[in-house]
C-alpha cells in the first residue's frame, strides 16, 4: 500500500519519491564506473588474494603486477605505437578535413556537390565489409606491416565526419575575413592557414576529440594489417598478453588498467568538452 503511494507521488517531489529517483540514478552511475574501479583495485591484489575473494579490496597497495607487466610484455612499446598512429592520423584527419571541408563550403566549382557527397559516402560503408579486401590490397601493394600502415585506413575512415563538420562550420564563417586578408595582400594559402584555420579551431577540437578515442581504441585493422610483433597496438597487444598469461587475473587486470589509463585521465580532465564534442559530432553526423 505504502509502496504504491510513493511511485504515484514520486514526481510531486515528496520525500520517498525523491529518494527512489536519486537511488536509481546512483545505482546506474555506480554500475557505469564500478568495472573500472574493480579493475584498478583488483590489479593491486596477489593471485591468491584474488582467487579467495574476487570482489574484496586488496589488503595492501601492491604495484607488483604493474612491474611484472612492464617486464614481461611490450606494453610500453604497444602504447608508443598506438600513440604514434593516433597522433599522425589525427593530424592528417584534421588537415584533410579542414582543407576539403573549406573548399566545398566556399567555392562554387563544377562538381562541388558531387565531390562533397563522395567524401560523405564513406560514412555508409561498414569498415568490416572492407577489411578482407583491404588486407589483400595492402599485401599486394606492399603497404602492410610497416609503422605507417595503419595511418592510411585510420585517416581515410576519419575523413567523412571531419569534412562534414568543417563544411557546415565554414558556412557560418563570414567571407569578409578572406576579403580583408586579400586586400592586405595575403596569398591564398597564407589566408587559409593563418586566418581561417584559427577561426575553425573549435570545430577542429571537436573532431579531434571524437576521433581520439576511436583511434586509441581501434582493434580490427591493427589486428588484420600488422603481423610484426614490434608494430602491434595496445588493443591487439592486450589480446596477445591475455593469451600468454590468461590464468593470472590480477596481472591481466593491471595490463588492462594501464591500457585504459590514458583515456581515463583525458576523459576526467576534459569530460565537459569531450561529452559536448562527441554528442555534437554524433547528432550532426
Amino acid at each position: 500500500m505504502r509502496k504504491r503511494n510513493t511511485t504515484e507521488k514520486s514526481y510531486h517531489g515528496n520525500m520517498s519519491g525523491k529518494i527512489i529517483i536519486n537511488l536509481i540514478l546512483m545505482i546506474f552511475s555506480i554500475t557505469c564506473i564500478f568495472p573500472a574501479v574493480w579493475l584498478f583495485y583488483s590489479s593491486m591484489k596477489t593471485k591468491s588474494e584474488f582467487f579467495e575473494n574476487p570482489i574484496a579490496l586488496p589488503s595492501t597497495l601492491n604495484f607488483g603486477n604493474y612491474i611484472n607487466v612492464l617486464q614481461k610484455s611490450d606494453m610500453l612499446l604497444w602504447m608508443k605505437n598506438t600513440a604514434r598512429n593516433t597522433f599522425l592520423s589525427l593530424i592528417l584527419i584534421l588537415l584533410i578535413g579542414f582543407v576539403v571541408g573549406y573548399f566545398v563550403a566556399r567555392f562554387d566549382f563544377k562538381g562541388r556537390k558531387l565531390l562533397y557527397s563522395y567524401f560523405l559516402l564513406g560514412m555508409l560503408i561498414p569498415i568490416h565489409a572492407i577489411m578482407i579486401p583491404m588486407y589483400i590490397l595492402f599485401t599486394k601493394t606492399g603497404l602492410g606491416d610497416s609503422w605507417y600502415t595503419l595511418i592510411f585506413p585510420y585517416t581515410a575512415f576519419g575523413i567523412p565526419i571531419s569534412v562534414f563538420l568543417v563544411e557546415s562550420y565554414v558556412q557560418n564563417v563570414p567571407r569578409e575575413l578572406e576579403e580583408a586578408a586579400a586586400i592586405d595582400g595575403s596569398s591564398f594559402s597564407r589566408t587559409l592557414f593563418s586566418i581561417i584555420l584559427p577561426v575553425c579551431k573549435p570545430i577542429l577540437v571537436t573532431i579531434g576529440i571524437i576521433q581520439f578515442f576511436s583511434l586509441w581504441n581501434e582493434f580490427t585493422y591493427s589486428l588484420i594489417l600488422l603481423s610484426d610483433e614490434r608494430l602491434k597496438t595496445i588493443s591487439v597487444g592486450l589480446t596477445i598478453f591475455k593469451g600468454q598469461y590468461s590464468t593470472d587475473y590480477p596481472q591481466m587486470m593491471a595490463a588492462m588498467f594501464m591500457a585504459i589509463l590514458p583515456a581515463i585521465i583525458l576523459y576526467f580532465a576534459f569530460s565537459k568538452q569531450i561529452i559536448k564534442g562527441m554528442v555534437a559530432g554524433a547528432v550532426k553526423g
Binding site: 514520486s10 519519491g17 529517483i21 536519486n22 540514478l25 546506474f28 552511475s29 554500475t31 557505469c32 564506473i33 573500472a36 582467487f51 574476487p54 584533410i96 576539403v100 573548399f103 567555392f107 566549382f109 559516402l121 564513406g122 555508409l124 560503408i125 561498414p126 569498415i127 568490416h128 565489409a129 572492407i130 577489411m131 578482407i132 579486401p133 583491404m134 588486407y135 589483400i136 590490397l137 592510411f152 585506413p153 581515410a156 575523413i159 576579403e179 595575403s186 596569398s187 591564398f188 589566408t191 581504441n217 582493434f219 580490427t220 588484420i224 588493443s235 592486450l238 589480446t239 587486470m253 588492462m256 591500457a259 583515456a263 569530460s271 569531450i274 561529452i275 562527441m278 554524433a282 547528432v283
Partner: protein, 296 residues
C-alpha cells in the same frame, strides 16, 4: 586579387587531389578488389581459379552466414531497445526536479563510451567467468549456488550475454544525447503540460517523447550503424563461440579468410555484408523519413 580569393586550377588540384586519392584508395578500391576476388577460388597464394558466380551462389545458401547475420540483427534490435530505452528512462529521471548530482551522473554514465571495446570485452568476460566471475561470486554469496554456470558456454543465451556489455557501454552515450535534446525544448511547454495535469510517465510518453522524436531517430540510426560494427567485443568475449553460436558476419568473414584461408569466398562474404548493410541503411532512412514526415 582574384587569385588570392579563389585558387586557380593548379592550387585547387594540389589541395584536393592527394586527399581524394587517399580516400578513394582506402574506401572504394577495396570494394572493387573484393568484387574481383569474389569470382575466384583463392586461398591467398599464387594459384587462383576463376569460378564465376560460384562463391555468391554458395553464399546464398550458407547457413552459417545467415545465422551470423541473424545474430547481427539480434544485436541491433536488443541494443536499440536496451540502449535507447534505458537511456530515455534515465534521462527522464535525471531531468526530474528532485534529481541531485546531475553533472556527476552525466560524467560518470558517459565514461564507458570512451573505453576500448577490447577492455570492455575482457572486463565482462571476467564478470561472466565461471570460477571467479562477479556473477557467480554473487550467486554463491546469496545462496543461489544452483544458478552458477559457465555463462559464456551456454549456447542458448550467449548472444544475449554478449549484447549486455554493448548495451551497458553505450546507455550513457544515448542518455547524454537525449538529455541535451530535452534541454533544447522550450521549458514553457513542459510547464504548461504540468499545469494541465501531465506528470510523471504521462508527461514522458505523451509530451517529451513526441517533442524529441527527431533525436530518437538519430539515436536509432546511430545504434544500427554502431552495432553493425560489433566485432571487437565479441572477439574478446567469446571469439564467436561456443561453436558458432555468437558469431557475427564480420567475425565469420574474418575466420573464413584468415583461419580457413578462403580469401575468394571471404571476399564474396564481404560483398554480401556491404550489400546487406547498404540495403539496411536505405530501408531505415526511408522508414525514418516517413516517420519524420508524418510529424510535420
Amino acid at each position: 586579387m582574384k587569385n588570392r580569393l579563389k585558387p586557380g586550377p593548379l592550387t585547387f588540384a594540389a589541395y584536393i587531389l592527394p586527399s581524394f586519392l587517399l580516400y578513394t584508395f582506402i574506401v572504394f578500391v577495396p570494394i572493387v578488389v573484393a568484387a574481383y576476388y569474389g569470382f575466384f577460388d583463392w586461398s591467398g597464394g599464387t594459384a587462383k581459379k576463376f569460378i564465376g558466380l560460384e562463391n555468391y551462389r554458395t553464399l546464398m545458401t550458407d547457413q552459417r552466414f545467415f545465422k551470423a547475420l541473424g545474430n547481427n540483427l539480434f544485436l541491433i534490435v536488443f541494443c536499440a531497445i536496451g540502449q535507447i530505452g534505458l537511456a530515455f528512462i534515465f534521462a527522464m529521471l535525471l531531468e526530474s526536479r528532485v534529481a541531485k548530482l546531475k553533472s556527476f551522473h552525466r560524467t560518470v554514465s558517459f565514461f564507458p563510451s570512451v573505453l576500448s571495446a577490447v577492455v570492455i570485452g575482457f572486463i565482462w568476460s571476467m564478470i561472466y567467468d565461471y570460477n571467479y566471475g562477479l556473477i557467480n561470486t554473487l550467486l554463491k554469496a546469496t545462496g543461489m549456488k544452483d544458478k552458477v554456470q559457465p555463462w559464456l558456454s551456454n549456447e542458448k543465451i550467449v548472444v544475449l550475454l554478449v549484447t549486455i556489455p554493448l548495451i551497458w557501454q553505450y546507455v550513457g552515450y544515448y542518455l547524454i544525447i537525449i538529455v541535451s535534446a530535452i534541454a533544447s525544448v522550450d521549458s514553457s511547454i513542459f510547464e504548461m503540460a504540468e499545469i494541465d495535469g501531465a506528470t510523471g510517465w504521462k508527461k514522458a510518453v505523451h509530451i517529451t517523447l513526441p517533442l524529441i522524436k527527431n533525436t530518437i531517430t538519430v539515436c536509432i540510426t546511430l545504434c544500427i550503424a554502431g552495432n553493425m560494427k560489433a566485432f571487437d567485443h565479441i572477439w574478446t568475449l567469446t571469439g564467436g563461440g561456443p561453436g558458432t553460436a555468437s558469431e557475427v558476419v564480420a567475425l565469420y568473414a574474418y575466420k573464413t579468410s584468415f583461419l580457413s584461408q578462403k580469401m575468394g569466398y571471404g571476399s564474396a562474404v564481404s560483398i554480401g555484408m556491404l550489400v546487406i548493410s547498404l540495403v539496411f541503411v536505405g530501408v531505415i532512412r526511408f522508414v525514418m523519413g516517413q516517420i519524420t514526415k508524418e510529424k510535420e
